[in-house]
């Protein structure tokens, strides 16, 4: 299992390579990407902050829960911190699996748990200010 908080652009290909195997028939990649607006208000960029050592521990915990439910998967979870420009990924979740169905379920499970449990914070930066945005 690959889990990491990184301060640079996420190397999506490297995350994909980490979960690939000749025994697998499916690889599913999810990218959370910085969007240029919040309810119509233009967003210039995002700033992410993490409690990195705890965040990596939480990612690993979520990954282990996932492997208990769907054994045999290969997982890669990477979240970025610092400035993320519009269109760049802030989060990549890669799941490699012998078969397709558990790939989707596991990827979705990891994403939803991350949204609730990961000690990471997001600030939207506008032309005229900035705001911390919590997941609802």
């Amino acid at each position: 299992m690959l889990v990491a908080i990184v301060e640079h652009k996420i190397d999506v290909k490297a995350v994909r390579a980490h979960v690939s195997s000749s025994e697998f028939g499916a690889i599913l990649l999810f990218e959370g990407v910085a969007r240029d607006n919040f309810e119509g208000k233009p967003v210039g960029r995002l700033e992410y902050e993490a409690y990195a050592p705890m965040a990596e521990a939480v990612m690993r915990e979520i990954g282990e829960e996932c492997l208990e439910r769907w054994p045999g998967l290969s997982l890669g979870i990477v979240h970025r911190t610092g400035t993320v420009e519009i269109g760049e990924p802030s989060l990549v979740i890669a799941v490699g699996s012998p078969h397709r169905p558990e790939c989707y379920e596991a990827n979705r499970y990891i994403l939803e748990e991350i949204k609730v449990r990961l000690p990471v914070w997001k600030k939207e930066v506008y032309e005229d200010g900035a705001s911390w945005k919590a997941n609802s």
Binding site: Y51, P53, K133, A134
Partner: protein, 84 residues
């Protein structure tokens, strides 16, 4: 000066709380039997109505607000998260 009856903990701040405090972390001397809730209210007396939305992690595990701090603990105040 740390008296014999006090203990020292590391406090970490993130996001809005880091900006309010103007610091990412600091060492704080507290009385014995101080809970996570007590410490939060001492450090952020004006944020009381918000405290139900702030969680506590001691040594990187989430804990309830009535958890007592021990010497050398690292406590982080966890405002509502926004990862993804």
């Amino acid at each position: 000066m740390l008296s014999a009856f006090m203990l020292s903990v590391t406090v970490r701040y993130f996001a809005r709380l880091r900006e309010l405090r103007g610091l990412a972390s600091e060492e704080v001397a507290i009385d014995q039997k101080t809970t996570a809730d007590d410490l939060y209210l001492t450090l952020f007396p004006d944020q009381g109505t918000d405290r139900l939305r702030v969680g506590y992690a001691i040594n990187k595990s989430m804990v309830p607000g009535n958890t007592e701090l021990r010497a050398g603990d690292e406590i982080a105040f966890i405002p509502p998260v926004g990862g993804g």
